[in-house]
């Protein structure tokens, strides 16, 4: 037992060091670099959220953006219509995200595979339309603008540095959460469910509850990220906050890095977000085209994700580009 505790302290220390290393650059960075890093951190959170339901539990959600949008709109509506302060809207966004995940999860988590993917996609697209058509509350297609400066501002605008820290803290929280899940009985239950639900149930795992819990945790992380994002953007629109592209990005990042691993989604988010920014700056016309090519290549060369790929290469002391693919080819 003492050994376990020492282990635990080592991790806390590790994260503390990470925190210092990550926050130190805030004073050294340009504002634009802070903005880029803030978006990297945001995608770490989103990818980890997807990782819990898609990577660990094996339920490939294609509608996680619904939590992002709901979180963002909770914050925006409360700040605009109710004059609430930003800090009060954060827990509210979390409650909405978790609550919606649980409610939606009850019927939808009975579906498997592609059916689950389509259903989640349908819920997200449908929710966007609902937001568009409830203009009285949400401003419809014209969106909402949060008062960020002047007398109307309920909370002073944190600026680039402020959002850098907000997303950093949330990303660290997400990492710690997933790290904890991976080592807990709950994490093992999710991994068992991803392989065989009947066998998991026979082993005594309440599969319904575990799946809903994983979905709710994904809802929690994603809605918090959405809430902070809404305030950061000031003006929000349904097409932006419920964009299917955001869902796709979280899946791509988590899978690129390694779905079902702790650090994979972080690695994926960092690499792909930087890559995407670099392509945007250097290959303006071609950047999406090249990005598509990179995704295709990544899937073919390392379908198990970068983290697993690197681990296998390290173990076997050789890099075998198509080894993993051979396992999955027809």
């Amino acid at each position: 037992m003492a050994e376990v505790q020492r282990h635990w302290w080592r991790w806390v220390l590790g994260f503390a060091i990470l925190l210092v290393v990550a926050t130190a650059p805030a004073w050294l960075l340009l504002e634009s670099e802070q903005r880029t890093l803030a978006s990297v951190f945001m995608f770490v959170v989103l990818a980890q959220g997807w990782n819990l339901i898609g990577g660990f539990a094996g339920y490939p959600s294609f509608g996680n953006v619904v939590f992002f949008g709901l979180g963002g709109y909770t914050t925006a509506v409360l700040m605009v219509k109710a004059g609430a302060g930003f800090w009060i809207t954060l827990p509210a966004a979390a409650v909405v995200g978790v609550g919606f995940a649980a409610l939606m999860g009850i019927p939808i988590l009975r579906l498997r595979g592609h059916y689950f993917a389509v259903a989640t996609l349908g819920v997200a697209e449908g929710m966007r339309e609902v937001v568009i058509n409830t203009g009285g509350l949400t401003g419809g297609n014209r969106g909402l603008t949060i008062p960020a400066v002047g007398a109307d501002a309920t909370t002073s605008y944190p600026g680039n540095t402020g959002f850098y820290y907000l997303f950093l803290v949330l990303a660290l929280g997400a990492m710690v959460l997933v790290w904890g899940v991976a080592r807990s009985r709950f994490g093992y239950a999710l991994r068992a469910i991803s392989q065989d639900e009947d066998a998991a149930a026979a082993a005594g795992i309440n599969t319904t509850r575990a799946k809903i819990a994983a979905f709710a945790l994904a809802g929690l992380l994603t809605s918090l990220a959405g809430a902070i994002y809404a305030f950061q953007q000031v003006s929000i629109y349904p097409d932006r906050l419920f964009s299917v592209d955001i869902t796709v990005l979280m899946v791509v990042m988590a899978v690129f890095g390694g779905a079902g691993t702790v650090i994979g989604p972080m690695v994926g988010a960092v690499i792909l977000q930087y890559l995407s920014e670099w392509l945007r700056d250097n290959l303006t016309d071609y950047h999406t085209f090249v990005f598509g090519g990179i995704i295709v290549l990544a899937v073919l060369v390392m379908p198990m994700g970068l983290v697993n790929f690197t681990r296998d290469a390290w173990k076997q002391r050789r890099i075998s580009l198509l080894a993993a693919t051979r396992k999955y080819r027809l």
């Binding site: 807990s184 093992y188 065989d196 066998a199 026979a202 005594g204 319904t208």
Partner: protein, 247 residues
Amino acid sequence: MTAVLETRGLSRKFGGVAAVSDVSLSVAAGEVLGVIGPNGAGKSTLINLITGHLKPSTGRVVIDGQDVTGRKPWVIAKTRVARTFQIVKPFRNLTVRENVAIGSMYGPERAGSAPEAIGQADEALDRVGLSEKADLTPGDLSVADARRLELAKALAMKPRLLLLDEVMAGLRPSEIEPALDLIRSLRDQGVTVLVVEHVMKAIMAVSDEVLVMHEGSELTRGEPDEVVKDERVVEAYLGKRYAERHA
């Protein structure tokens, strides 16, 4: 003494076809009930009905005097019921040891934490002879070892009632005897066992009582020696050749 497992008029229909119809059985503590029958006789469906993986159309399932009909599999598992699957269902993304540990993580005697459960897994691995392969993943196991893993996962739950769905299928004759010894030693510890098996000799050697199923219902039931002599059984399941050989 009350029966550990009892079913009353258990039936299940799939789109009008009765996979199991009106099966009533009762197994006392520390007894081994063998269930045999040709393919499609409803043996696996019977196990699925008992463990809650399927809901019965009619009838009751009583475990240790408690009616558990229609309960979810994980609820039934908590009443110390463990099972294996005919088509092995390993968790391919976990090591062999972690596979087994799942049973003690969520079984009736929950381990305090995941690492604790993983530490306890060796006992069950030892019993089935998989200790040396504990760190492999299920994909690297042979057919026989995959069946052993299936059994170890069930044992890790420390069951009072164990339902075995063809754990000996695909084993070589030399591998069957250790498996039978294991079932006997479990019985001697007071575990009640229901064995569904195709390997005839095996089931006769280990069962206290044998239930013969045919087209979903009970054909006959009795001690192994009597059952083998029953003419209906011979015709329905064993075929004439077996009867002649053992006449």
